[in-house]
Amino acid sequence: MIQSLLLSTLMFGALFSVLSISLNLQYARGGMINFGTVAYFAAGAYAYAIFTQEPPSGLDQYAFGFDLPWWAGFLAAGVAATLFALITGWPTLRLRGEYLALTTFAFAEVLHSFLLNERRIGNGSVGLANVERPDLSFFGLDEQIGYAVAACVLMLVTAWLFNRLLASPYGRLVDATRDDETAAEAVGKDTTRTRLQVFVISAIPIGFAGALYAMITTLVSPALFTAEITFFVWIALVLGGERTILGAIIGTMALVFFQELVRMIPFESVRSAQIAASVEEVLTGVLFIIVLRWQPWEKMKRRKGA
């Protein structure tokens, strides 16, 4: 019981930490509000499923299946997220603040309804079931443990690379671009390019995480990739104190733990399970408001600084 709670917290916590670490780079450091996070995640998951599944047959409505090995699908997920980030970032990054937030949100909704209605991509609302996944028994690992380890590896690699990125002259450039674009331009920095780079770089791990998510659930369908995921990651980021990679990870782990805990509670009826699900959402919302209102992390930081 406890073991499976910890394991799924670790697995999904690490997986979604990849998203919140990326958002940390994009928002806390890059100053770009992206409310379409789920779209890059979905792009990765669908790309993985499409590249690894068998060509369509029988009742399948999807048009493409390339039957490639898992690692090719994994790479395709990164490429798909990159391409989607370029397509969405190029026209929108001129926009600031809430305008960027709205446009990225709209892009994600467009992708969602496209996946829902264009059946040739992924069978529409039915989605793609039985997604291929690598055989982990090779390592002699339990499947669950194997995927938890894989998620942790992806999280750690992302955290490590982004940490190096931000600790370098490029990190200074990212900060300078966020602080004052006119001043950064005045010392010869192409801020448009920097913003697009940060936007795309932070989308790539999200795509990889999407592929891993598809392996874990063995299903991709539009219902799995709704704006709820975007908001979940944003809440996790804010819970974690917003500005550091470690904070992003802790916030995500805590939020996933909380949700998994609620999910563990055995319910007598469907009705009570539904109520519990709503209570969970309400509590998440309340937690969010508390953190925003009292900013405990800011206070802690100040106390430490003083």
Partner: protein, 257 residues
Amino acid sequence: MSDAILKVEGVIKNFGGFRAVGGPDGLTFNVPRGGFLGLIGPNGAGKSTTFNLVSGVLKPSEGRVVLEDKDLSDCKASDIAGLGLARTFQTPRAFPSLTVLENVMVGVSHTNEGPFSAMLGNWRQSDGELREKAQAALAKVGLHGHEDDEVGNLSGGELRMLEVARQLVREPKVFLLDEPTAGVDPTLQQKLASLLADLHAAGTTLIVVEHNLAFLLNLADRVVVLQNGALLAEGAPDEIRRNPDVVAAYLGADHEA
């Protein structure tokens, strides 16, 4: 000296229906290579707007700016800065989340600055050198000892000097300064004057907007006077001091000629 490094050719800037720069025929003047041009005129004459047009922060409505025979019409501000043009802003700009030293280091171009170099870590060799350059630039503007300060804790005058240091470290060919002495104490003004004189001696082309004429007219070798966005007068500092139009429009009758 006939070789002009910067040419402003018939430039006009309209904000809506209001012509901030250009007057009836557009603003035209040249800056000789290695020259020290003072740009003066009453409040609202269009001096800062002219700087914005030259540095690419704003695009001219008409006319063009040419830097070393290159038409800047299609250049972004960052491209223009990359061509060796530096400028400070009338209201100093800084990067508040970086320290004073880092603010200057942003100014130095780094060969391994891209995101992939960053992840590979091969920027480290050159970073020490860069740090020394930045420290030297800070010392030149009297900010040594402030390297690790937060920008938010600097005084107004120090902030202005920080911006000068950030551009200085880039070793610009053409350096535009917008009211560099405003809010700066006399000691530091003297330091700034000798810094500008040194740059001038080393061949840097300077264009300085200043209301502090005692400061400017001792340094500049040529002066352009703007009024209502148009060229009112142009000449050596002594001619400008005696020019009756300039006296009437800007200096006032009882200025010390």
